[in-house]
């Protein structure tokens, strides 16, 4: 009965990756500034925050859920950690822990409402999106927190390999992708996440506590949002209460572009990274080409569709 799902070819990251390569090839012919390590390093910096959020989003989408609150939770986390540092003079590690604790707590609330109250994730996270936004505004008084200690922005520093600057934050993001990929692939809890998304009832009947799996996923996603908070603070050097307003759609886009099914149970987290990079490459490449901003939006619309089309075609070819 799940036949539409059944029709989907086994997901790989190959399709999205081909789309990414094609996009890069295109921009390389359009701007001689595009193809440089420094520029790629820049793109990686730019997708660092949304890329990290998208890891958590991938986990949730794999369970056939969706999280609209991710960006706002991220903003809340960055305000909590910066204000804890600024107002109470807490040391960076303590303040960061509190910030991540706050995002994990929000994840827990999402998870409890999804599992215990059995509410649809869309509505739950729509609710917590608003709640997190309001708390962020109230707590920060809508003021950007600029007193940020060095310890909190350390991830925004970079080291050099040859001519290229590489941000520690980017390395962290890449490491998180790798770890999550291994976790999903090689560990029992990771496989249970797929199972829950694939067929919740079958998973329940095999004696796995689907509630525990879901709860774990939402909390874990919250932790990822918290790490994204930290990366965001590191990147812009401040706690920004207005951050995170479009990150939910951006993150979901990265997940879907990366080949993960919104119906759950199918997808690879590395694809999400590729999806996030596709968006970053578009934005960067179009600016380098000097496309004016309204036209950028137009072209982005077309390119997003072309990207999944390429993905689709490359899969057909592979069959």
């Amino acid at each position: 009965m799940n036949s539409l799902k059944a029709k989907l070819p086994p997901m790989g990251t190959l399709g999205p990756f081909i789309a990414l390569v094609v996009a890069c090839g295109f921009f390389a012919t359009q701007s001689d500034r595009f193809l440089s390590l420094q520029n790629f390093s820049l793109i990686l910096q730019q997708v660092m925050v949304v890329g990290t959020i998208a890891i958590g989003q991938t986990l949730i989408i794999l369970t056939a859920g969706i999280d609209l609150s991710c960006g706002m939770i991220m903003a809340l986390g960055s305000i909590v950690m910066t204000k804890m540092g600024a107002d109470f003079g807490l040391s960076a590690p303590v303040a960061i822990t509190l910030g991540i604790g706050a995002t994990a707590l929000f994840g827990l609330v999402n998870g409890l409402l999804v599992t215990k109250a059995k509410l649809p994730p869309f509505i739950v996270t729509l609710g917590t999106l608003n709640i997190a936004f309001a708390i962020t505004q109230l707590y920060s008084g809508s003021q950007t927190v600029t007193e940020v200690s060095d310890g909190m922005t350390w991830l925004g520093n970079s080291f050099r390999i040859g001519e290229t600057n590489i941000l520690y934050g980017v390395v962290l993001m890449l490491a998180l992708y790798l770890i999550t990929w291994l976790f999903l692939r090689e560990t029992a809890p990771g496989r249970h996440i797929y199972a829950v998304g694939n067929s919740p009832e079958a998973t329940r009947l095999t004696g796995i506590s689907t509630d525990k799996v879901l709860l774990g996923v939402y909390v874990l996603a919250g932790v990822f949002y918290g790490i994204a908070s930290l990366l965001s603070v590191a990147r812009i050097g401040a706690g920004d209460p207005n951050a995170g307003q479009t990150e939910n759609l951006d993150a979901i886009t990265a997940v879907v572009l990366g080949g993960t099914s919104l119906f759950g149970g199918r997808g690879i987290v590395l694809g999400t990274l590729v999806g996030a990079l596709i968006v970053g490459v578009f934005r960067n490449g179009l600016t380098l080409m000097g496309v004016s901003s309204v036209y950028q939006i137009l072209v982005t619309g077309v390119l997003v569709i072309l990207a999944v089309l390429t993905d689709q075609m490359s899969r057909k070819g592979a069959r």
Binding site: R191, A195, N198, S199, L205, T206, G207, G265
Partner: protein, 268 residues
């Protein structure tokens, strides 16, 4: 080899007056049930007689509206399949609870993955894919199913192959009781016989088996006792050695009442 079970064998599962309603439909209407140690108990009945509903209650998959369940004489309260599984009850569901996009090996071990030895396995819960694969091949070979690759997604299997996955899983992990809801329905002659063989082997390990089937020859070949379900109740429990197939079917369909049967036909 176990000794043949008889009326003195202790009751492993007992249920009294189970009732389960779905809206206006009453699936179970005060059903009783008894499973003795070491026996193969067949459950037969018309479509919609409430067989699946009955075993779902026993397996914790649904919670009955009324009635009591005893496991080894102790009142059992299964709130979820996890509880039943913890008590060592393994079930093959009629709609084959499998995760379609996952591989055969993964489905066989879902929730009971083999872990790597040492830290990796115990703390990080890393699974041992190689070992799981090898085990899967062994289990599936037992059933003589020609499946080419254990890393195939279950959704790509034929109907019968899929059923074999579910059967193999239950047989492999049962500690206490095995429940099978029409395990041979989609199977070919050869594969069906292999499953019967497997059921016998499980029984010989000392585990009682509940077998739901519409296949009368299979039932009469293998069952120690036959529980006849009818209209959400237990109509009778008969002894296949002392009753004919046609009499059994007559009771099952309501053509004959239990009183018309000779006393020895009834099992105790």
């Amino acid at each position: 080899m176990s000794t043949a079970p008889n009326a003195q064998s202790p009751l492993v599962i007992q249920a009294k007056g189970l009732v389960k309603r779905y809206g206006q439909v009453t699936a179970l209407d005060g059903a009783d049930f008894e499973l003795r140690a070491g026996e193969i108990l067949a459950v037969i009945g018309d479509n919609g007689a409430g067989k699946s509903s009955l075993i779902k209650c026993l397996a914790g998959a649904t919670i009955p509206d009324e009635g009591e369940i005893y496991l080894d004489g102790q009142r059992a309260h299964f709130k979820s399949p996890i509880d039943a599984r913890r008590a060592g009850i393994e079930t093959v569901y009629q709609d084959l609870a499998v995760a379609p996009a996952m591989t055969i090996a993964e489905n066989l071990f879902l929730g009971r993955e083999i872990r790597r030895p040492g830290f990796l396995g115990s703390v990080l819960q890393v699974i041992d894919k190689k070992k799981m694969l090898a085990e899967s091949i062994a289990r599936m070979n037992d059933l003589k199913v020609g499946i080419r690759s254990m890393t195939q997604a279950v959704e790509t299997l034929s109907g019968g192959q899929r059923q074999c996955v579910a059967v193999a899983r239950a047989a492999a992990f049962a500690q206490h009781v095995v429940i099978m809801d029409e395990p041979t329905a989609a199977l070919g002659v050869k594969e069906g016989n292999m499953v019967l063989e497997l059921i016998r082997r499980v029984r010989d390990k000392g585990l009682p088996v509940i077998l739901i089937s519409h296949n009368m020859p299979h039932v009469f070949e293998i069952a120690d006792r036959i529980h006849i379900a009818r209209l959400g109740k237990r109509a009778a429990v008969v002894d296949p050695k002392h009753i004919s197939m046609s009499d059994t079917v007559a009771v099952m369909t309501g053509a004959k009442s239990v009183d018309e049967l000779p006393a020895q036909a009834l099992a105790h």
